[in-house]
Amino acid sequence: MADYEERQSLLGDEDKGRQAAEAAGGPGRPLPAICDPGHLLHRIVVLVFMCFLGFGSYFCYDNPAALQTQVIQDLDLNTAKFMQLYAWYSWPNVVLCFFGGFLLDRVFGIRLGTIIFSLFVCVGQVIFATGALVNRFWLMEVGRFVFGIGGESLAVAQNTYAVNWFKGKELNLVFGLQLSMARIGSTVNMNIMGWVYSKVAALVGTPGHTALGASLMIAGVTCLFSLTCALVLGFLDKRAEKILNKEQGKTGEVIKLTDVKDFPFTLWLIFFICVGYYVAIFPFIGLGQVFFIEKFNFSPAEARAVNSIVYIISAPASPVLGFMVDRTGKNVIWVMVAVITTLAAHMMLAFTFWNPWIAMSLLGVSYSLLACALWPMVAFVVPEHQLGTAYGFMQSIQNLGLALIAMAAGAILDTRGYLFLEVFFCVCICVALIAVVMLYFVDYLKGGDLNMSAADRAKLLKESTSDAE
């Protein structure tokens, strides 16, 4: 690709990094590996902070679900009102995270942007908890709204950071790890918040909105922790930039909002895959429990277990699959495998009485594989200065798709039943499949590097680096 060197990853390859480090630290005094931004060991340290950057927001996002009965009881709500806590998070994000991504690229820059979004997450959670503390539901909604402004955009920032540090290296693995971190965050939340609440209630004396508010404040500590990660990451990134003289590589290009219409066709295809795929996963899992009870005669507990297996599998599987994609390259093929496997799983659920453990486990593996292989592709088709906007846009239309399809799915289920719903999800997956097939050919005909094997990619990187020097 012509503009490859312009947007060559932040760090160059390791040799170059070492030279730069020596230049900065004076001759003959190389930095120890763990402090050397060019070294794998240092990248691992960065990775740890990067993963925990999102932990707080993932943990607190599902606080209402983990405390559903308590929230409804303590604040005297009904389920529809309770669901508004999620609506206030999701709906604004149909547009907000697009602007979040744009602001990252254009105004704040990645470092400041990340810190600002982390602050929003913290403040939002504190408002949310305060609302519970003083028993004002509207204040809780405000809190969720502020939390949402930060939360989704923080995910965009996290993706952008990952590309800056890991493109051309362990990028797929990093995306896999971030997914598994998100899963771990919400799983830990689900399992620990009830316990926290009961302890706080014992301390306060009675369960009630005070105990609820206090527990949510405690949950907010994870957001503070993530904010700390954002600060540390900002520092490390700044330091790496100085040591590696990264500024050189910049072309001074800035993104304009109108650049969105000039996004390459391949990026739009990636968006299509993203929407088509995820709308067939999340809304299905939301409605899945009753399906397993009715169709497969599962007990409610069993149904809950089989429904959550997708997320449970994705926590350990996604780093492993990410590593595999890193080793082999060929992202488009992996995405295609993931989409076809998901289609097969949905068809199994729709047209057979086979044990749903099979289909749901397949779904878990393919969901993880897709996350590792799809999201990094964005970094190969847009220049670096548009990255935040591209990820923001992707997140935005994913949110839009999910919100619309979740409503449609409920309506379909009520009028046409589960078979029709499953067929509808299959069609969504087929749309994603069409987009993957087109992506494969478009990339092939353009001679793009989306589907390059890992070895070719390394060769290309080496060539372009030597050209640059």
Binding site: K295, T352, L413, D414, G417, Y418, L419, M438, F441
Partner: protein, 363 residues
């Protein structure tokens, strides 16, 4: 397709008999006739007689018929043309106090309601369907209603559970509306008796179906059939889905399971139903209970309504199949990527060929 002719109280001279009504629907096919007989003399009964002649007729000796004591007072002639007959008697309504909310009817039963002791209103006819409502003395304003519909072609109802029916079947919808339960936690059961001549319906078969398009979230069909060795294309059947509804115009959320007990031989159908007494000399009867509700779900008192629908027919029970919408969606969904893959493959091949041949002159 079948031609339907509907006749109320055939052969009765004056406008209406003193008690009970007899509805006769004749469905004439190419070379057979189905006689659907619906009677409110005693417990409500639906009798289906299948004959192999398109000219078989019904003979009723009304004076004997009304005494409810003599077998043979109602005949289908000629008798040799009868292939098969089956009847369903809605014999009793049972109520129990579900103190622990387990929906497991084993104890705490209130005295049962015998449907033959109900006061039944006159049959209300409209087209090929008939509405029969009745009440026990203690029902206050409530009533138990049965709506019979006979069909001349295949199709399905617009309201849930939207059972598929054929021209060889009739549908009975039963509902209990506005009855004051004897306890706030009351649930109900309905006792059904299947009566047959030679081949009584003796076993209930559960069919699982992947297709819940017409009855959302119900993946089972239940069929009450003759013994295995007696099951053939022309035998009778009762078919229903294990769901009842808590509202008159239900949506999916109003659904609640309808569970059935295994069928057991019984001996008293002719006692309760005038029609059975009149038609059968030695009826064979099997009975079962259908119970409405599930542990943890609302009690009858919440809406004071439940409805349940069953088909009685001959031949093969109708089975749901995929709707055209499902087939088209799957075909288009799976077909388009395949075609695209093929087209793309061809495109790439042609390009490769072209570029390969353009190199040749250089050689």
């Amino acid at each position: 397709m079948a031609a339907l002719s509907v006749e109320l109280n055939p052969g009765w001279p004056s406008p209406l008999p003193p008690v009970g009504d007899l509805l006769h629907v004749r469905a004439v096919g190419d070379n057979d006739t189905l006689h659907f007989l619906f009677c409110s003399l005693g417990a409500p009964t639906l009798l289906l007689v299948h004959t192999n002649s398109s000219s078989s007729t019904l003979e009723v000796d009304w004076t004997q018929f009304l005494t409810r004591k003599v077998s043979g007072s109602l005949r289908v002639e000629p008798e040799s043309s009868i292939l098969q007959s089956n009847a369903i008697v809605f014999s009793r309504l049972l109520e129990y106090d579900d103190v622990n909310n387990t929906a497991n009817p084993t104890s705490d039963f209130f005295p049962p309601y015998d449907l033959r002791d109900f006061t039944w209103a006159r049959l209300n006819l409209s087209g090929a369907s008939a509405l029969l409502c009745g009440a026990a003395a203690t029902f206050a304003n409530g009533s138990l209603c049965l709506k019979l519909t006979v069909f001349d072609s295949e199709g399905r109802d617009q309201i849930l559970p939207r059972l598929l029916h054929s021209a060889n079947s009739s549908q009975v919808e039963v509902w209990l509306d506005g009855v004051l339960p004897q306890a706030t936690r009351s649930r109900f059961l309905l006792e059904l008796q299947a009566v047959g001549g030679a081949y009584p319906l003796s076993r209930v078969e559960v069919q699982r179906s992947i297709d819940d398009e017409f009855t959302p979230s119900i993946f089972k069909v239940l069929q009450w059939l003759p013994p295995l060795n007696r099951t053939y294309g022309g035998s009778g059947f009762l078919q229903w889905k294990p769901v009842s509804y808590r509202q008159f115009s239900p949506v999916v959320e109003d659904g609640t399971p309808a569970q059935h007990s295994p069928p057991r031989p019984q001996s008293c159908a002719e006692e309760s139903s005038g029609l059975i007494r009149a038609f059968y000399a030695e009826p064979e009867t099997f009975g079962l209970n259908v119970s409405f509700g599930l542990a943890g779900e609302p009690f009858y008192n919440s809406t004071r309504f439940f409805s349940w629908t069953v088909l009685l027919g001959v031949g093969l029970p109708p089975m749901d199949s995929f709707s055209p919408a499902v087939l088209i969606m799957m075909a288009v969904g799976l077909g388009t990527p395949m075609i695209l893959l093929l087209l793309g493959g061809v495109c790439v091949c042609i390009r490769k060929r072209a570029s390969a041949s353009s190199y040749e002159p250089i050689n």
